[in-house]
Structure formats: C-alpha cells, structure tokens
C-alpha cells in the first residue's frame, strides 16, 4: 500500500516499533497533567498506526492530540524502542495542515508572522535603551519571548553583557521562525533571510541568544545554513557565561530547571550548572533533573493552543520546586520563565527567573 502521508513515508518503521508498552505515561507532561491516554505519546502512535493501516482517517478529530504535544522528547528519552514521537508529531502536523485540519491557534500563525514578524502580532519591540551598532563582535538575539514578554530578563542579560564589557549589538529581529515547522507550516524564508542578512551585516563572529529554541533553530535548521557557512557560531548565553567568574554570590537555596530545548534537545546540562554552582553554594537539584527534567508545558505550540493544560503542566513542575525546598528557581529559557511564572501560586514564595537576570540583580545589589 502506497504511503498516503509524509509522516508515514518518513517514520513508518518507527511507528511500528512502538510496542505499546505505555512507559511514556510515566514522563509525558501532557499525560501527567490530564491523565488522558489519548493525549499521551503512546496514544498518538496508536492513532497514527491506525491511519497507516487504513482503519481511520487523518481528520480534524485528531487535532486535539496531534497539536497537544510540547515536543519535549521525555517520551523518546524513556522509550525502550527509541521512538522519536516529537519528530513524528511535527510531520503529522504538516500532513494535517495540508488536509486543512490545523489547530485554529496556528492557522493564523503564518499570517501573523508575515504581517508582524513576531509570534505575538505585536507592533513594537522594546529597544532596551540601546542603539544598534553597525559592527560588533557579537549579536545578541533576544527572540520573540525575550522581546515581547520577558523583557526584564532581556534587559538583565544585556546589563550583564555590558558589565562584562562585551562588544555586542542588538539587531532589528524577525522571529527565528523555527516555531512554524513545529506546528505544520513551512518556515518563513523572508524572515530567515532578514535575520541572516542583519546578522552578517554586523560582521559578528557569533550570535549569543537567551532563547534555547532560537539557538536550536539557528544552529540546526537547513534554512540557516548560509549563516553557519560564513563561520558564524551560535551559542546560548549559558555557554557564553560558563567560564566567567562573575564575582557574585548568594546564600539562597537555588535550584535549576533544565529547559527541554537546552537540555534534552541540545545536551547542554553542565554549562548552566557551572555558572550557578560558582555563585550559589546552596544549589540543590530538583527531583527530576538533567535528561529527566519535567517539561514546563509551554513548548510545541501548546501554550498558545492549550493554555490551561500548559499551565497545569507548569504547576506540576513547580510542585517539585516546593519538594526541593528551593527559594530561587533559575532557568535559561524565557518561555519556561513565562509559563512557570504564570503558573506560580501566590502562596509559593520562591522566585523564578533566568540565571542571567539573577546574576544581574546580584551585581546591582553589590554596587
């Protein structure tokens, strides 16, 4: 039988490898928050298997599960058969878009990016009180969340770079566009080109970004190959800061939340901890950490499409912060900060922020 859809052409063998053991139920954040097997990784594979076998059709009825996956890859990490569920889901989403069954939150996404250049349809970005330089050694790329939601975190990151005397500049950013391929659309070539041109125009040798997702996109997508081909290195700010002795310390009990995009997807676990341990001797790990870290629930478009469940997932993660008894939760992803921040209850007295923001605040205190 000729494969009808892309997901089958590319991932048939993997979908068949799913042995239905259900072990993913232990780690899937969507399942953990809803206890609904139809939304679990196994549930998604069972549905796609039935589509492949011709028992059911790909249709709008599958939107609720195919578009409700944070692509955190906790399932893959735990799967005895190594099934890469998030990758399969992304291609299945594309097939869904092609048949006209896209989640309403994303049908507009393509248009929003076309007209506004950012995922929030905002018209004006913060300029953080800094002039854009014509030439600099580094470009700091804030990303949409950093420009339009967690502006304090971006401001703090820039503050830290200033204090360290780093020669950097901001650019007129367009959305890295990585999110489009995650929700079934092709990347916006115009926005990608814009970013590449503007970065190259500064002559920068490297891009530092506060957003692990942008880092993954610029580092990994073929659309950004022209940038990499020019030798431009893309790094996350955690990698940039890891060898600096920032000269600040805290006695607070600090913990670290591994963002999925930095941890499981890029294997970057130790660099952020290197920096944190240097400034916080009272560092404790959360019950699930490193590759086992619980997803905050924001990724894969879930915060936009299923915001209530997204926040429930974040709440589950925050319970672990309570368990660890931490006073401060540090993380290196603005999206995580945003979702966890929304989910935090008033009675939970710990603070949540990016490591760079924490460092910035300590630096300000010291002065």
């Amino acid at each position: 039988m000729e494969a009808k859809y892309d997901f089958e052409r590319r991932y048939r063998e993997q979908i068949l490898r799913c042995s239905r053991c259900g072990f993913c139920q232990a780690v899937c954040p969507v399942y953990g928050a809803t206890l609904r097997p139809g939304l679990n990784a196994r549930g998604k594979m069972l549905l796609l298997k039935e589509v492949m076998d011709g028992r059911i059709d790909l249709s709008g009825e599958l939107i609720e599960t195919l578009f409700q996956c944070t692509t955190c890859a906790s399932c893959t990490h735990n799967c005895p058969s190594g099934v890469e569920v998030p990758e399969i889901v992304k291609v299945a989403r594309k097939d869904m878009v092609d048949i006209g069954s896209c989640h309403p939150a994303f049908t507009g996404m393509h248009d929003v990016l076309l007209h506004h250049g950012n995922i929030y349809a905002e018209d004006e970005a913060e300029d953080f009180g800094r002039e854009k330089k014509a030439r600099a050694r580094y470009v700091f790329f804030a990303g949409c969340v950093g420009l339009y939601r967690e502006t304090e975190a971006t401001q703090a990151a820039l503050g830290v770079l200033d204090k360290l005397g780093v020669d950097y500049t901001l650019i007129e950013e367009a959305c890295c566009s990585g999110v489009l391929e995650d929700v079934g659309f092709p990347m916006n070539d115009a926005l990608v080109r814009t970013n590449i041109e503007r970065i190259l125009a500064t002559g920068a040798e490297a891009v530092i970004t506060g957003c692990p997702y942008c880092a993954r996109t610029l580092n990994g997508k073929t659309q950004y190959a022209p940038l990499r081909a020019k030798g431009v290195v893309i790094m996350h700010i955690a990698q940039f800061l890891k060898d600096y002795d920032l000269g600040v310390h805290t006695d607070k009990k600090v913990t670290y939340h591994d963002p999925c995009d930095l941890g499981r997807h890029c294997g970057i676990y130790e660099e952020p901890r290197q920096t944190i341990r240097r400034l916080a001797p009272g560092f404790v790990e959360l019950p699930h950490h490193h590759a086992d870290a619980l997803c905050c629930g924001a990724g894969g478009g879930v915060r936009g499409a299923y915001a209530k469940n997204s926040i429930d997932m974040a709440r589950r993660r925050l319970k672990e912060v309570e368990e660890a008894g931490a006073e401060v939760v540090l993380t290196e992803c603005n999206s995580c900060v945003h979702n966890l921040g929304n989910a935090k209850l008033r009675k939970q007295k710990f603070t949540i922020c990016t490591t760079t923001q924490f460092i910035h605040d300590l630096m300000e205190e010291a002065e």
Binding site: L16, R17, S19, Q25, A26, E50, I56, P80
Partner: protein, 461 residues
C-alpha cells in the same frame, strides 16, 4: 449499544467532562500493551466508589459491558474491551488513603501508580516487595488484577501475598469489602484471594489494603555465565538447596545476550546463559555471606565466569544487562509476543532447552530472559507481523510453548494473566470440572456477563 439515553445517564453520574466518545480516546482505549485490539463505545473517568457503583448499576440494567482499566500496560489483553461497551478508566482514583507504618499497612486507590507508592514508602524505610518491571507506570488495581510479580518474586512472593483486604464494586453495583486490615484473618471465605488475579471479571476493585515490609538496606550483586543451559538450570535449582533465598535470581538466554550486544555497548560474553543474582539484608557481612553460598553453587556448575560486584557502580553495571533486555528486544522485529510460562524451579533447564528447540523447529527468533528464581521465564517471540508466514510460525510456536510448559508441570502464565492471549489454552491447563467451577463463580458474581466479558475463556460453554 450506547444510545443517547444511556449516554445521558452516564453523564449524569460522572459529569460531562468525565465522559468521552471522542475518536482519540476510543482508539487509545482499544489497546493495552499486548497485540490485541477492540474498540469501546465510550469511556468514563470515575473518581469515587459511589460513581463506580452507579455506573455498574446502569450497565447491569442495560446489559452494557464494562471494562475496568488502569494504566493499560497489561500484556495479555486484560483491559482491551473485547465486547465494546464502556471503558471505565480508574486512573483518577489515585490517592493513598492511609499509611500506618506500625500496622505494616497502606490503603490505596486502584489508580495509584506503583512508583508513587514506592516514593511514599521510601522515607519510612519501607517498601512494597512485588516490583513489576512496569512499576513506573502500572497502577495498583492492575497489580491486584493480575497478581503482579517482579524480579523479587523468588524471595518475597507476589501481590497476592500482600493484599489484606479490598473494597469491591460488583457487576450489579453493590459494594462489598473483603478481608480487612489485619496481617492475619481467617474469618469467612478468603474472597480477597478470589479477586486477586481475577482480571477484572468478578468486580471492580476500588480500595486496596496492602501489607508492606521494612526495606533491607544492604545488597550484594553477582553475575555468572554458562556455556551449557543445563549447567545454568542446575545452578538455579541448587541455589534453592543452598539454605538461603536470593532476593533476585534472573536469567538471560543466548538470543537475548546477542541482541543486547548488537544494540548496546555492554559487550556481554556471548554464552548460553547468564545468571544475575542479588542477596539482601541489613549488613554487608550478611549479604556477602548469603552471596557466598550462591557463588559456591555457581562455581560447582561449570561457569565460564563469576563476577562479584565490588561496589554500587559495578552492581548497577551488572544490572544494566537485565534491565536493557526488554528494550533491546522490542527493537528487533516489527512485532513480538512476550510470554511468561512458569515451571517448577527444577524444570527450568528443560524449559530453556525446549524453547530453543521450538524456535529452531519453526524458524522463528525466540529470546528468553526471566525470573529463574521462581521458574518464571519470559520467552519473547520476535517476528514480522506483516508477513503472514511469520505470524503463522509465531502462533505455532506459542502453541507448542504452552504445551511444553504444561508437560513440564508448569502453567500458561506466571504473572501476566490469561486475558485474551491465552484464553484458548485454558483447557490445556485446567480440567473440565475446574473450568466449570470458574464459570459458575463468574455467573454468581456477574449473571449478565457484563464485567470484562470475553476474557479467560469464561464465556465458552
């Protein structure tokens, strides 16, 4: 089967947000971890015993089948809704109701995940000994429904040895209690034991009182390899005569070892069989002494190599082999069937040899691993499910496997249950009178045959 009226009644009982007939839920609920599949008509999420009772009353009145379900990780189709109807998902009833350490008692709801029970007991230095390999996800209702075992079965027994009492909702919605909260209880018929391993066919368990044990703090681990299956088998039997009970005695067969080596960099010696043993206690002296006896037995039976773990890290390494078996084997062919035939311990060598012969005869790959310490082996038949010839070979091999086990005075299933997978073979193991009595009991508890119908060969005349 579920018309608008029944749907409305179900919604009245559980609330509209706890009723579903959405495609995505129906497909999920069609499967468990076995190769069986059957679509339900709808599903409900229940949160209280009262709701379970109301649903059963309704179902019994309308003659609608109900299939109770926990995590859906069963390996024989126990929670596959063979006759459609309602799937009753109990995973939201997941609390620990009481924890009384001095009474060695914990009372839990059926939807509680095993790992969460472990987590709650650990700070008190206690544990629930039967430890199914799916412990990270499986729920306690399921462990009761199948009398789940685990790697510690040889020394610590299985779930049924630890269930003190139950709250059960019967097919007609009546609620009853069995047993109690005492360690010993011989008052009236032992209905608790009847429900354990009844695979959800006699009642829906809504509360479980369990006995718990203090957790030994020291362990010693060792591994031995054997170039002859008989030697390995004899070693297993002789360990039982050594005067000590190891807490774990697992075996890996040659096929399994080869598969592990091909898919990991564990680089195990490619021998006929590998035995992994663990002894536990409260001091290292004690566990080392016990392991000394085990190692003596190993050495007497022509081992290739005997390795005693000198540290926690080394022990973890030795365990890696056993832990990776299932995962590795799952990747080899598109389909597999995991059996759990169990024989008296002394017959383990014969079973191992017999499995090899069956594989050869039907030209099919069978990798074996399992709980040698209680005679419970897991032959995993690997095959291409899209090749009709291989499917036939798998079926023929399974058939012979069951017959072999019975011949060796064994049973069809040590821990996964009969469900759908082995229903056809019940007559091999049980005599006609016994089967008739089982059906009589089923009829007494569920005259309309609505509770998980079509399982365990209970339906056949």
């Amino acid at each position: 089967m579920i018309d608008e009226r029944i749907k409305a009644d179900l919604i009245r009982i559980v609330g509209s947000q706890n009723y579903t007939d959405n495609l995505i839920d129906m497909v999920s609920y069609s499967y468990d971890a076995s190769e069986h599949r059957a679509r339900p008509s709808c599903a409900v999420w229940v949160e209280t015993t009262a709701q379970v009772s109301e649903v059963m009353k309704l179902a019994n009145r309308e003659k609608v089948p109900v299939t109770p379900r926990g995590a859906g990780t069963g390996l024989s189709g126990l929670s596959v809704p063979a006759h459609a109807g309602v799937v009753m998902d109990l995973t939201r009833m997941n609390r620990i109701l009481e924890l009384r350490i001095e009474d060695r008692l914990v009372v839990v709801q059926p939807g509680l995940v095993y790992a969460d029970l472990e987590k709650a007991l650990a700070p008190h230095g206690f544990f629930f000994p039967p430890d199914p390999s799916s412990g990270k996800v499986c729920t306690m209702g399921g462990t009761v429904g199948t009398n789940a075992g685990g790697v510690k079965g040889a020394k610590y027994g299985t779930t049924r040895d630890y269930v003190l009492g139950l709250e059960v909702v019967l097919a007609d919605g009546r609620i009853m209690r069995t047993g109690g909260k005492t360690i010993k209880n011989v008052s009236g018929y032992d209905l608790t034991r009847l429900f354990v391993a009844s695979e959800g066919t006699l009642g829906v368990v809504t509360e479980i009182a369990l006995k718990i044990n203090p957790k030994p703090t020291a362990t010693t681990t060792a591994m031995a390899t054997f170039d002859d299956l008989e030697d390995a088998g004899r070693a297993v039997a002789e360990v039982m005569r050594s005067g000590i009970l190891p807490s774990v005695l697992e075996i890996l067969g040659r096929e399994t070892i080869l598969a592990i080596n091909q898919n990991t960099d564990l680089n195990l010696p490619e021998v006929e069989a590998l035995l992994l043993a663990e002894t536990d206690g409260y001091t290292k002296e004690e566990t080392d002494f016990q392991m000394g006896k085990v190692v003596e037995v190993f050495r007497r039976n022509n081992p290739g190599m005997v390795k005693l773990a000198a540290s926690q890290e080394e022990a973890a390494q030795l365990w890696q082999a056993r832990k990776s078996a299932y995962a590795v084997l799952a990747r080899i062919k598109s389909h597999f069937v995991l059996e759990d035939v169990t024989v008296p311990i002394g017959r383990v060598p014969a079973l191992l040899k017999g499995i090899q012969a069956i594989a050869k005869k039907h030209s099919i790959q069978i990798a074996t691993f399992g709980h040698a310490g209680d005679g419970n082996l897991h032959p995993q038949i690997l095959y291409d499910g899209y090749d009709p010839q291989q499917v036939r070979s798998m079926e023929a091999a399974s058939d012979e496997l069951f017959r072999l086990s019975i011949e060796l005075e064994g049973t069809l299933t040590g821990e996964h249950g009969i469900g759908l997978s082995k229903a056809a073979f019940m007559t091999l193991e049980h005599d006609a009178v016994s089967l008739e009595m089982m059906r009589t009991i089923k009829r007494a508890f569920d005259p309309n045959n609505i509770l998980n119908p079509g399982k365990m060969a209970l339906d056949a005349a």
